[in-house]
């Protein structure tokens, strides 16, 4: 059986681009906007993924969390509809409509039954051009955000990820939490939200991905009408980033049984020719679930964690390789040491030819999975758009990954995975014996900082303002923490 399996793996090297990926259309919406469209009439559903230059990096000084707050208000009333009427207009037609702030963009996700697409776009137009920001809704949403921030304060992954970003990005606009802080959120006024929406909810730099049961001419007309009255204001440019990283181990004490550890290094920009080799390297080290070296060392061999993963994320102005792991308090030092040793070995020796081949067969062979649904397709195309790629990249992508060589990955591994530059943040109170070999001295605990829903790796921010997940949540996901729904570069 094993021999058969290996033979099968080799033939996948010729993996073809999925039919859908090869057939993405460009739709004209003026020179400052970009629309990609994947047509499919199998299911009467249309998915939209819309990105605007309105992420948290544009939060004004003292107003951390403004972009995210504004995104949370997107369905809280616009035009002639107050909050209640707007929610009912969506619910009466079962339109799913939500927005979240990332660091560079606000991303709006809409799913609608085919027959309700005109109403869904009408509501989007109202939301973008005539938001009401009424006092009642503002007070309610502010209370929701505030409670989410309070609870995040006690949750190790959130504390660790927020502190990591702050330490890693220092003075830059990427440093502050997407959701803001208690003080900044309490200072946000309706005027702040109105000003922000006027400057940033603009079609300058607009990116739209659509997949599903509609034709190109109908979609072109619908989007043309929808965005006609949307402002074309040019948002201010983001500042460039200076030095990245704060090497060393930083501890934020918390009384929990299982601390969380975030660790990271300066990454590689998306437009850098080394990005794809870096992406392949990341897959081998920590991006590939059970195939990754870190999962093998930390979970499978030692049983130290339920999950460990790393990701390479390129924002518009900076890139970061960040990893996350959680383990019991008395195993934190040991786990950090295993991570450092694993990174050091990879930097020195790179992957084996077999690891490279396996990474390429996974990364190319799994690409069609991203196009198996309308919602998945729209989300994947939106991810490509936010990385400033051209529509032809979708068809080229697999051959670019195939072209990555062992020499490329070894070179990039040296550049990327230098454990001496590692920024490590521990949310929780590590205990027990120190690692067998000396690790970086632990500085005195820093004061606990408010944490927010940026629990996942940067680049995959979350935006939930609901403080309480519904109590009944029975099924337990299996042995891998990171679902494969993660978007592929």
């Amino acid at each position: 059986m094993k021999r058969f399996l290996q033979a099968a793996a080799l033939s996948l090297l010729a993996a073809v681009t999925p039919a859908r990926a090869a057939n993405i259309q460009n739709i004209d919406l003026g020179k400052d906007a970009e629309v990609w469209f994947a047509e499919d009439h199998t299911v009467p559903v249309i998915a939209f993924n819309i990105s605007l230059p309105a992420g948290s990096a544009y939060d004004p000084a003292g107003k951390a969390g403004l972009a995210s707050f504004a995104a949370s208000m997107i369905d809280e009333g616009a035009g002639g509809l107050d909050s209640k009427a707007f929610h009912e207009a969506l619910a009466n037609r079962a339109i799913s409509f939500s927005a979240r702030a990332e660091r560079d963009y606000m991303v709006i996700s809409i799913s609608t039954l085919k027959e309700n697409a005109p109403e869904a776009m009408h509501l989007l137009q109202l939301a973008l051009t005539r938001p009401r920001f009424e006092a009642d809704a503002l007070t309610r949403v502010r209370a929701q955000i505030t409670q989410a921030l309070q609870q995040a304060d006690a949750e190790p992954p959130r504390v660790a990820s927020r502190t990591f970003m702050r330490d890693f990005f220092g003075d830059h606009a990427y440093a502050h939490p997407v959701d803001g802080e208690m003080a900044s959120i309490s200072s946000v006024s309706a005027g702040d939200l109105r000003n922000f929406s006027r400057t940033h909810w603009t079609k300058y730099g607009l990116k739209v991905s659509v997949a599903g049961d509609i034709t190109a001419p109908v979609l072109a007309k619908l989007l043309g009408d929808t965005f006609l009255p949307v402002s074309g204001a040019v948002p201010p440019a983001l500042p460039n980033v200076g030095r990245l990283g704060a090497p060393g181990v930083h501890v934020v004490p918390l009384p929990v049984p299982q601390p969380s550890v975030y660790f990271g290094l300066p990454g590689i920009m998306r437009q850098d020719p080394d990005f794809l080799p870096g992406y392949v390297a990341n897959y081998v080290v920590g991006g590939g679930g059970f195939s990754s070296r870190l999962m093998g060392e930390v979970r499978v061999k030692r049983g130290l964690t339920y999950g460990i993963s790393t990701s390479l994320t390129s924002y518009n102005k900076a890139s970061v390789m960040v990893g996350a792991v959680a383990t019991r308090a008395d195993a934190v030092h040991q786990t950090v040491q295993v991570v450092k040793d694993t990174l050091a070995d990879f930097a020195a020796n790179g992957p084996t030819q077999q690891e490279l081949d396996d990474a390429k067969t996974y990364l190319t062979g799994s690409f069609p999975l991203a196009f198996a649904s309308n919602s998945g397709t729209a989300a994947q195309l939106g991810t490509f758009q936010r990385q400033n790629l051209d529509v032809g990249y979708v068809a080229r992508r697999n051959s670019l990954i195939q072209a990555v060589t062992l020499a490329d990955v070894k070179r990039v591994a040296k550049r990327l995975f230098d454990p001496a530059r590692l920024t490590v943040v521990i949310g929780g109170s590590p205990g027990g014996a120190a690692a067998p070999r000396p690790s970086a001295p632990l500085p005195p605990g820093k004061p606990t900082t408010p944490a927010g829903p940026a629990a996942q790796a940067p680049g995959v921010p979350t935006q939930s303002v609901m403080p309480a997940p519904k109590p009944a949540d029975k099924p337990l996901a299996g042995p891998v923490t990171t679902p494969s729904a993660a978007k592929k570069p």
Partner: protein
């Protein structure tokens, strides 16, 4: 309620007749059985050259041996720990090398394993599943670290999460003797007792083709799947199964209330869970009535609880309700609310009870009932967009003893729920059959 496999049925399955031809059982569903008793369901979807395989076993947390809660979930983990031919953790590595993703999950009534992969790799994924279904190689060197992994998983999902901890305590209190009261992930001190021998016994008694339902969704035809499934799984022999225990659900004579104070809770929470009929055990229309009531009461921001508690009375920042009816035995109805700063949980609970009380008297307005039904029915259309969601819906239904017809007829059944049916559902919620929990931030006394 699903009838458990009897010894006679199992014996009959051991005789291995030839696989039946695929039979169309819905708009886009086809079913057949292999000679060894494995049930197969095919859902063609030709949009992308990929397929989803899900293998559902009729074994879950309710089947944990006494004193070894968490065994079914632990065993799900062990299924990734290797066979003689596919040793150690190479199962997932082979799937990944072939461009696929895989994972698994465990609930009280079932355990499911799945792969999503290019369609020409489906035979490979089937061979791998068929291999670990009968050839698992349990050894102490795998059992011991995996037990630590599960304990880390428990710390992450439960011990670190005050809301999960409270919910675990409430579930334990709701079920007087039924194992739905045991956490699927297990009590930590019992997980520590699981060893190689007990894991082997669990495997021998529950993992067999005649206890499995195979669901394939994707770029395949029913005849292709029949050939592939016969090739891969046909060789696995049926096995005599441990009969599934039937547990009593004695009536509760009083409401249970608990107040949990935790330093890691920063926001208070009011939560109540009711024991109610499930789809599998309810009378016709009962479960659908509860489903519609949950949507009306607390499904989204247009629902009654949100409208009254959050928007009108301004007592809460969030409030909602949900119905979980996909169980072999009793289902569950949940209500929760998060107070605004300065509002006591007692005041919040009183307001929730007022809303519930009105629901038992007044009929819902047509416009609201229609909105709730529109949303529930649309969710079925949205589900068709995802192979995984479709395969899960059918697999879960079959695993708890429902039929493909039950899944296919669900939209029509929801459409026929009347205003009176919703009021009856509201009247079904009895405080005696409920546990109420307060989560309060602060130091434990």
């Amino acid at each position: 309620m699903a009838a458990p496999s009897t010894k006679e049925e199992n014996q009959a399955k051991l005789s291995q007749p030839a696989p039946a031809n695929p039979r169309q059982t819905g708009n886009n569903t086809f079913q057949f059985a292999l000679g060894n008793g494995m049930q197969v369901l095919v859902i063609p979807d030709h949009r992308a050259p990929v397929a989803t395989q899900m293998l559902w076993f009729k074994v879950g947390g309710v089947d944990d041996p006494p004193g070894l809660s968490g065994m079914a979930h632990f065993f799900e983990h062990m299924m990734f720990r290797g066979t003689k031919q596919v040793p150690d953790d190479s199962f997932s590595q082979i799937i990944a090398k072939n461009g696929g993703d895989d994972n698994a999950f465990t609930d009280h009534d079932y355990t499911a394993f799945y792969e999503q992969i290019a369609k020409d790799r489906l035979p490979l994924a089937m061979k791998l599943e068929a291999d670990r279904l009968v050839n698992l190689d349990l050894s102490d060197s795998h059992v011991v670290p995996e037990r630590e992994v599960v304990l880390e998983e428990r710390r992450m999902r439960v011990d670190n999460e005050p809301q999960s901890l409270m919910n675990e305590q409430m579930q334990a209190a709701l079920h007087l003797s039924h194992p739905y009261g045991r956490p699927v992930i297990g009590w930590a001190e019992e997980v520590r007792r699981i060893d190689r021998a007990s894991a082997q016994g669990f495997y021998d008694h529950h993992y067999a083709p005649n206890n499995a339902i195979l669901v394939i969704a994707g770029d395949v035809t029913p005849d292709e799947v029949r050939k592939m499934a016969q090739d891969a799984y046909g060789k696995d022999a049926a096995r005599e199964l441990a009969p599934r225990a039937e547990f009593a659900e004695p009536p509760r004579l009083a409401e249970t209330r608990m107040v949990i104070t935790r330093p890691d809770a920063k926001v208070p929470l009011f939560s109540r869970i009711y024991r109610v009929p499930s789809y599998a055990q309810g009378m016709t229309g009962q479960a659908e009535g509860l489903e519609a009531f949950a949507q009306l009461l607390g499904g989204d921001q247009t629902s009654t609880l949100y409208r009254v508690l959050v928007e009108q009375k301004k007592l809460a920042t969030d409030a909602g309700a949900s119905y979980d009816g996909y169980d072999r035995d009793s289902g569950q109805f949940s209500v929760y609310a998060v107070p605004r700063p300065g509002v006591s949980l007692e005041a919040l609970e009183k307001a929730v009870d007022q809303v519930l009380s009105v629901s038992t008297i007044a009929l819902p307005r047509d416009i609201e009932l229609n909105r709730a039904k529109t949303q529930l029915i649309a969710s079925v259309t949205y589900r068709r967009d995802s192979q995984f969601a479709l395969a899960s819906a059918y697999g879960q239904a079959l695993a708890i003893g429902l039929t493909v017809d039950d899944v296919n007829e669900w939209p029509a059944r929801v459409r026929s729920v009347s205003a009176e049916g919703v009021r009856k559902a509201a009247q079904m919620l009895s405080r005696k059959q409920a546990v109420t929990g307060y989560l309060i931030p602060g130091d434990e006394k």
